[in-house]
Amino acid sequence: MNSEQLAVEQIDGARVLTVRGEHDLYTAPPLREGITAPLDEGVPVIVDLTPATFIDSSILGVLLGGLRRARESGGFFSLVLGDEAEPTVRRIFEVTGLLSVFPIDASSAEALARSRGDGG
């Protein structure tokens, strides 16, 4: 996976992972590492799925793993699904009924504000 598919930034003390293009079993390991490493260091993690064009249950498993880890450690984990997010990506959350399980923000700015305790 290249940096265009998974961009990693440190913004306001949080790790922001921007997921672009198609992701499945093959690209799940680097995403898992990108999520778990900062959470283990107590760093808030925000995964922006807005530019993603496809994700499968392998990726859903990675995201659920991140959520569980954050809950266990009292850390911060959020997904971003903006208005322009692909219907295909929203579809997997609908089909699995997991849309209500994740903390979801409409923008990374909103997620960052929540990670600082500014709102929500």
Binding site: E22, D24, L25, Y26, F54, D56, S57, S58, L60, G61, L64, P87, T88, R91, I92, V95, T96
Partner: protein
């Protein structure tokens, strides 16, 4: 302009490796687009086929190489897709690395699904159908 579209059947046989799941997905998406399937159906075919192929990659050939075969055939605006392995097929595993969501998702995304085989050393086939013109959830 005629709305009748001819598209060839797709037959794929690839090593059952994670990197090949995207190859199958793109081939099936291309076929669906050539058949002028509704965008929602294209999305559902991509996701269901990805889940079926992932099952093969993760479960069918523990500790060894194997083949993943995919056949797709349009008949009367219905696409039939078969994902086949020659390994363990779909068997319960206590150490499964996945969420166990693959088959329930395939059932939700397709208009019909059938699993054939699954014995210890026979072929296993996941047979899915998709109505190419549906605008909403699959009919059940």
């Amino acid at each position: 302009m005629s709305t009748h579209v001819e598209a060839p059947d797709v037959w794929l046989s690839v090593p059952a490796r994670a990197e090949n799941v995207a190859v199958v997905r793109q081939a099936l998406a291309g076929l669906c687009e050539a058949l002028l399937a509704e965008p929602r159906v294209v999305a559902d075919v991509k996701l269901a086929v990805t889940e079926a192929c992932t099952n093969v990659v993760v479960h069918a050939y523990p500790g060894r190489e194997g083949v993943m075969e995919v056949e797709a055939r349009p008949v009367d605006r219905t696409l039939s897709v078969v994902v086949r392995d020659h390994g363990l097929g779909i068997v319960p595993r206590a150490d499964s690395p996945g969420l166990g969501l693959g088959l329930p998702m395939i059932a939700s995304l397709s208009d019909s699904v059938e699993i054939r085989g699954g014995a210890d050393d026979g072929d296993t086939e996941v047979i899915m159908t998709f109505a190419l013109d549906r605008l909403s959830e699959p009919a059940r």
